[in-house]
Symmetry: C3
Subunit: 263 residues, 3 copies
Amino acid sequence: MEKKEILTQIRVQKKLPNLKYGLKKEAEAFTDRLFHTLFDAEADLENELDTLATQFSTLVALACWETGKSCHETWDTYVKGLPQILSKLNADAAAIHACDPASLSLEEVYLAYPGFLAIAVYRLAHPLYLLGFPLVPRLMTEYAHRETGVDIHPGAQIGESFFIDHATGVVIGQTAVIHNHVKIYQGVTLGALYVDKDLGNTKRHPTIESHVTIYANATILGGDTVIGSHSTIGGNAWITQSVPPHSKVYHNAQNSIKTNTHA
Amino acid sequence: MEKKEILTQIRVQKKLPNLKYGLKKEAEAFTDRLFHTLFDAEADLENELDTLATQFSTLVALACWETGKSCHETWDTYVKGLPQILSKLNADAAAIHACDPASLSLEEVYLAYPGFLAIAVYRLAHPLYLLGFPLVPRLMTEYAHRETGVDIHPGAQIGESFFIDHATGVVIGQTAVIHNHVKIYQGVTLGALYVDKDLGNTKRHPTIESHVTIYANATILGGDTVIGSHSTIGGNAWITQSVPPHSKVYHNAQNSIKTNTHA
Amino acid sequence: MEKKEILTQIRVQKKLPNLKYGLKKEAEAFTDRLFHTLFDAEADLENELDTLATQFSTLVALACWETGKSCHETWDTYVKGLPQILSKLNADAAAIHACDPASLSLEEVYLAYPGFLAIAVYRLAHPLYLLGFPLVPRLMTEYAHRETGVDIHPGAQIGESFFIDHATGVVIGQTAVIHNHVKIYQGVTLGALYVDKDLGNTKRHPTIESHVTIYANATILGGDTVIGSHSTIGGNAWITQSVPPHSKVYHNAQNSIKTNTHA
């Protein structure tokens, strides 16, 4: 097989003319800059906002968004929401610092907690999702997924003072609803009972009411599943039905233990 | 202790003259370029193939491969397989888009699904593994592991239209065999029942037949374990024995629930 | 809302004057250089040690460390320990190669095992934690967490010849104690039974005695929980109480299987 033939065969199979990986890089650079603009003490705030506006235009051009509004108008709407997002994220950071015995300073939360980064990128992506831009917010949260191991769909609804610790393996589905003061540990899935393409417009992920704590690797599935407020879900618990408020759910170990006392 | 003494002590313990981390960087750059060459609408295909050939020569030189064939010959064999790999990956992307209710476009699958990246790098690494190059394909899939949380050994055998969603924590062992149209979710392990160095040449990971779906965090272990075709394995299931075709295996929750109704 | 007003609102909420993300980047560059200095055959050892000393000064300045000792003195203490850390890490690599049937060469362990990278960064961060620098060692291990999916707190105590395979999702808490020749697989949590801010100075994570193997996704919780030496903890096991030496603990599958034989 000649090189020419190989090239032809590859070209035939490249069917998506708008599959530009430059969009992915731009979305990630935009996300990084947003994050540093809000939190880095050394960011030149005014300049950064101007650069963000330019990056936003580039994203709009690359993503071929068909929206009623002009790009400029959309950015103006989005940027007005940034102070409120920052306020919410400061509350998230405070909640993490207040809850984790291993946390020594608020600076540590902002700089070193992957859970904080994941929440921040979700809160920055969610308004773009609501504004009707499907691809860029997904690229933003998927970027955070790569950096942190936390996969939050930008369509999820998450209340105030949200805490994720250790982070790796957390999955929060598109139609999950999380109220205020919820704490989640590594490996927790808020997922669908089963997956079928036809379910695209159905609520298929659970609702977590306020002041609920969900320990590591617990799995909560189903769009009708509601974890009542002030409940504690123990590590490894497997839940596919609703739980009333003020409940404690614990996984019972199912182990066999053999000890060789003569070893 | 003097600086000179520290230097001497460190030098004494550096025992591997071929431990060149440049190889790792080159393998990752090669993987990135392969991926973009196949999928990015903006890649200059002809130039990219030439650069890939040069990068391949560098990898061969760095990895000190002892092979019967010349480097040039090996590349020629590998590059001829690229159109077929691309064809398989397009089928994988189509399967992801067809199955996931949260997926809005095929572009989203290519750009934002870590499961697609993991499968792509596996399919690009596997032929090099079969050609007898042990280290570079491992560096390739380990690169994808870092980016996606999916650890697929390049020696695994994976059929067509393979789907991984959410991705983080998936482990597919060296001797696993996966037939066509299999779907896997986050945290699934296809692993060994136990690990011992002497088992290097034994089939120690399971076989998954066609049209099987394995939901999140299920664990399937053992080289003799066969999941029969058209079976569904529920989330969190723990399986160490074969399951006949057309089975449904569900994990039974083992929870204690206490609700404080007077809170 | 005017741009000026948005800027003012953001500025009001930036409360931490020392939140400099440059510190994070510097800590990561320092970690990378330390790693390559010890392992890369192509590193110019003498120059690298000089550059590391400079980077360390920058870190000290950025982190505003209040310590009794001068920065220079601290670096001198730290650098003297590097040969011993290297010696331990070579033993870790040898243990990985000796145990994993899929490992073909020692080079592969150093270049491609995320578990090795995670252990290396932990061993390089732990002495800085003991020297009383809280933030930089956390940034170091969190960097490794991002790259590998392994979250080891720099305060954990880990003995010799430690092995982590597949890596993603491992969490080892601040007060965990791990003796020699321990093997751990993906998704294992050595965590706290419950989390409360007041527990900051309490031992809340388990002790793993020598020659223990813990298979994938097992969870071991509690500061009083001791896994006795020479024990094997099966995958998915859930342990919140001590286990005597020479024990084998296995998770019993709790599955329902239905097979449609007429399909």
